[in-house]
Structures are given as C-alpha cells and as structure tokens.
Symmetry: C2
Subunit: 141 residues, 2 copies
C-alpha cells in the first residue's frame, strides 16, 4: 500500500512537473533561480532512513537533475540539500546558482524574494526536461 | 597521484577528526549545533561529477555519520547539504538540529553566532565516534 501524499506546503509552493522512478519532481514557484525539488514517494523523513535501493534510485535522480541544471544557461554552481526543518516530508533541493544571482553567495533558503514564472516559461522547462533527461526517466504530469 | 589538499578555509574553520574511506571528517569549530563536514579526497566540485564508486562511498559515509548524529542527545532533524558557493572544494555538511537550537527552523549557513568547543568536548566527540561508528570506518588523526 502506498500511503504517500505530497505535503500541502510543497504542493502550494511548487509546480509538480512529473514523476521519476522514486520521486516526484517539483519546480519551486520562483523564477529567480532554477530551483527543483525531488520528493521520494516514501514516508521516511531522513535520507539515511531510506532503504539502500531507494537511496540508489534517489542518487540517480539527483545525478540526472544535477546534470540538467548544471547545463542551464548561467548556472555556475549547484546547491544540493535535504533540510526539512519546517516541511518534514523528505525532499531534496537541486538548485542552480550564479555568482550574480539575487543572494549569491548566501544560501537561498529563508529569503523572501520571489518572482513568478509565466506559463510559457514553465512550458519551456517541461520541454527542456523531456528533451535532455534520458528517455523514460521522467513522466510529465 | 593524489593531489588532494584540504581547502585552507575549511582547515581554518574546522578540526580534522580523521579519515574515512573516501573523505576527511571535519568538525566545525562551533559547539552551537553538532556540525560535521565530509570532504571527499577528490578534486571534483559537484556531487554528480564524482564517479559512481566514489558516490557510493560518500553515500555510505553520509549514512554512517547521519546515524551517529541522529543518535546524539537533542538531535531531532538532520540537515544534509553540498553547497560550496564560497569554498568550491566539494564538501558535505551533516548537521544535527533541535527545535530549540540557536536559529531553528532557519538554516545555519551564514549565521554569525559561534561558541568554541573545549578540548574536553572535542575529546569526547572523538571517543564517541570511535565507539559508535563501525570498526574500521574512521581512522582518527
């Protein structure tokens, strides 16, 4: 039985782009930096609590997404993190940073600045993901 | 040829506790929260750039350290992150958080608060690591 339900705050703050093997792939509703979130469809709250097979799957998804984000125009550094102090549901941030972005070199968490995406921009991100990720690794929703 | 040298800022801000299979294990000189840092002895700057074998080794080290930190008195949540906006050398933070710690629920990065460890406290951390990590997984330095 799969009792997984996406946390309501993640659902509110993000667009669900699709499903990977283990995780939902979300895009934070903030166009200031490319900010993706992987949410394993599991109920553990810490990375080390996932079983080995799920850890391997998550690692692979982080790798695929990292490679994608690193290839975006202007991305110089990745920030990868599982924090979860507020939203306990296990989720991993994969964020592309640029030395001229809105809060470089500080971390992005806890900052109030926000710029919405247009529907067109979101469409382009979906299209780019499907083009650049290995076939079958992401099912858009 | 191993050309690895610990970044001078990490060397300055941390105590080198020892060596794991892939990584140096550091303790940040800040007793406000249990804050460990794994530094793979490699020259890549992003997690996804490590080869698969090194990724597996790092994952195992994160697991071991996570289990250790989660077992410390007062630790309720782990924060695991590879950021590296300032110090490019690949390093992974493994931090134990408590809902009454100095900046909960905010992230710890970028905060100025700092409390030094005593030599006795550091000695106890070393002793605890050696007692609780699987035999052979950490060589104290």
């Amino acid at each position: 039985m799969n009792s997984f339900t996406l946390d309501s705050r993640l659902a509110n703050d993000c667009i669900v782009l699709g499903e990977m093997r283990l995780s939902l792939l979300l895009l934070l509703k903030n166009a200031l930096v490319p900010w993706f979130i992987l949410v394993p469809r599991r109920n553990q709250t810490e990375l080390f609590e996932l079983d080995r097979e799920d850890q391997e799957a998550l690692l692979e998804e982080i790798n695929l997404l990292s490679n994608f984000v690193k290839g975006l125009v202007g991305v110089e550094k990745l920030n990868i993190a599982a924090i979860g102090n507020v939203v306990k549901q296990l989720h991993v941030h994969v964020i592309g940073r640029n030395s001229e972005d809105f809060c470089w070199p500080n971390v992005v968490w806890g900052r109030p600045e926000k710029t919405p995406y247009t529907d067109e921009e979101i469409g382009k991100i979906r299209e780019s993901l499907i083009t650049k990720l290995p076939e079958g690794s992401l099912r858009l929703t």
